[in-house]
Symmetry: C2
Subunit: 364 residues, 2 copies
């Protein structure tokens, strides 16, 4: 790309890939792993999940710079059975560890019907859906989940004990596009609060509480010891169910793998110090791959998934201008619309990345 | 039990078991299967989930009487791999089909590390947690889910397209009692609405909507075409996430197994006619069993689960009279309290059961 081709904040996909891989390589990340990381971050931008896109790059770089992410990890399977594996990510980039781990789940599924991989000693892995969707081209259902920095309080508590712990499930269809869930298990995603905060806006009650557990409408309350509420917002509306889901994700990601659980998940940002008390190794993930034909013939399965999707898509909307969404539709539609457009990065973030490029002598 | 031993509405566990198995045997259900069904229903009563307890017995009996449940099914594995099986329940009692299917998942896990069983041609199976907890004594994590009669509308729709589709996950611990999630994926469970309705009470807004999709506070609105909302209540508060979870449960239970999906799940009550349009066979379930030592040593796993549970249990409560609950605590505490007490059944239900006993010449 020539510098004149786009506005200061607009980047082509290719230009961004070169910038990201250029910087990561200078920090000792192998070419292939740099490209994986670029692909995960750009994928988040294309799918309109900017909270997990380029905004994470300066954090990854900061953690690489201060030795808290290992640029060139020896990712190892440390235990396995026919359908399971436990992988130690050796402190590598979460993106790289997660791709390797999901590949392992897919390989296990080829012989055992399903494959389940618990991962420890990893780092922030970006969008959960990137990995679950890897299963689709193998005619498999993919599952991806991770624990995350503790910002959410369980029902009836004021303590930040666990993260927004996302779950993604990607299920193949036939003529219809795949069904792709990719969701936080909290009342609101961290990224959405952050955007409200920098815009100086309030939020509705039911998303966050202050450090004493009182209702709050301040998106910035997390910086003052406040916490995000579980999906459901209050016990009355089922927040114990949101807490149950998040707790399950945390346990699968940590106790199954040997990673840190809940409050022992290490910070994914360089401006927070490493934890003083350690329990388990790094951030944990959990992946699954289920071969379609371990259950049904591929033809029958895909035909019925198409019918499922059509049935739900054609449900009567509550209001005329609404429609029932199939999980994955909004992100896929965004990706189709965005893939040939320049990617817009905020001036502030673009400035940060420019500074990093200058430091490492990478073309911006 | 002698008839004088308890009030009309109070039954000993043993008396209830004899009543249930007595009736079921007269309807052609084998002794062993009758005892399984009694145990599942009584377990729901002991665990304070009466919406899935004895109240279901007249429904099961009605469906057996009119041939919509097969009393003596030939339950068959129709497809399998090392870690998976698809089971056809031959239209049997959901309780019986589910126990057999969970046993199959546990057997698969013994050799493959994990076992995953999709089930079709089954019926209402009672509390999801009964089956997930079967894994605990084998030092395994158990997973249980089912689809259910369509009463819930997806986000942005007024159509009842799927059920309260529960998920249960039971994870073993060491000194601590196990972690047991057992939850509907809707804003409220059907049974809770029913109790409000018979008491003539209103509910808060955010649980149900009328047939046009307008907010409603009438717990009886379901009988007028209204629907339950997904967990999260509104799009604003993440009901699309509740919908995503429920949709995943529906697909795993139906498309993976060959059972009916969403609106094609057959009614679990005899007063509703069988569906006119059929797609797939009966109600579907999905079970999983994960051997602890397919991931970690049993000692290490249990030690860390204990620490997880202690950490969450000791979180600071928001209010002095509250405490952070570990999933499964309320039901287990109820069971411990109730197990040596008579079981209290409402006069109305007790009357219904008495009538059935008279019809089949079973001691009441």
């Amino acid at each position: 790309m020539t510098k004149k081709q786009f506005e200061a904040k607009d980047f082509s996909k290719e230009a961004l890939e070169e910038i990201i891989t250029g910087i990561l390589k200078k920090l000792g990340v192998p070419e292939k792993d740099s490209r994986i990381t670029a692909d995960v971050l750009i994928s988040a931008e294309l799918r309109n999940i900017p909270s997990h896109g380029l905004i994470r790059l300066p954090d990854y770089i900061g953690l690489l710079e201060n030795g808290r992410i290992n640029p060139s990890p020896a990712i190892k399977t440390i235990h396995e059975t026919l359908s399971t594996a436990v992988i130690d990510g050796d402190g590598g980039l979460g993106t790289v560890v997660a791709v390797k781990s999901m590949e392992t789940a897919i390989e296990k599924a080829k012989t055992a019907g399903t494959g389940w991989v618990a991962v420890r000693n990893s780092n922030h892995y970006g969008i959960a859906g990137y990995y679950s969707m890897m299963a689709l081209k193998h005619d498999m259902t993919g599952i991806s989940m991770t624990n995350a920095n503790p910002l959410v309080a369980p029902t009836f508590s004021k303590d930040r004990l666990y993260g927004t712990n996302p779950i993604s499930v990607a299920i193949p269809a036939g003529e219809q596009p795949p069904f792709v869930v990719d969701m936080a298990t909290s009342a609101i995603a961290r990224g959405k609060l952050y955007i409200k905060q920098i815009n100086g806006e309030k939020v509705k009650y039911g998303y966050v509480q202050d450090k004493e557990g009182n209702p709050s409408n301040e998106p910035g309350i997390l910086t003052e010891g406040g916490s995000i509420l579980p999906l459901g917002s209050s016990y009355e509306y089922g927040s114990h169910r949101g807490y149950c889901m998040a707790a399950t994700v945390d346990i699968l990601s940590s106790i199954f793998s040997g990673a840190g659980f809940g409050p022992f998940v290490p910070p994914s940002v360089p401006f927070l110090d490493p934890l003083k008390e350690k329990d388990g190794e790094g951030i944990g993930h959990f992946f699954g791959a289920l071969r379609i034909d371990a259950f049904q013939s591929k033809e029958e399965f895909k035909k019925r998934m198409d019918k499922w999707i059509e049935t739900f898509k054609n449900a009567k909307p509550t209001k005329e201008n609404e429609r029932v969404l199939i999980p994955g539709d909004p992100e896929r539609e965004a990706e189709e619309k965005n893939k040939n457009q320049p990617i817009n990065i905020s001036e502030k973030l673009s400035g940060k990345i420019k500074t990093i490029c200058e430091k490492y002598n990478v073309d911006f």
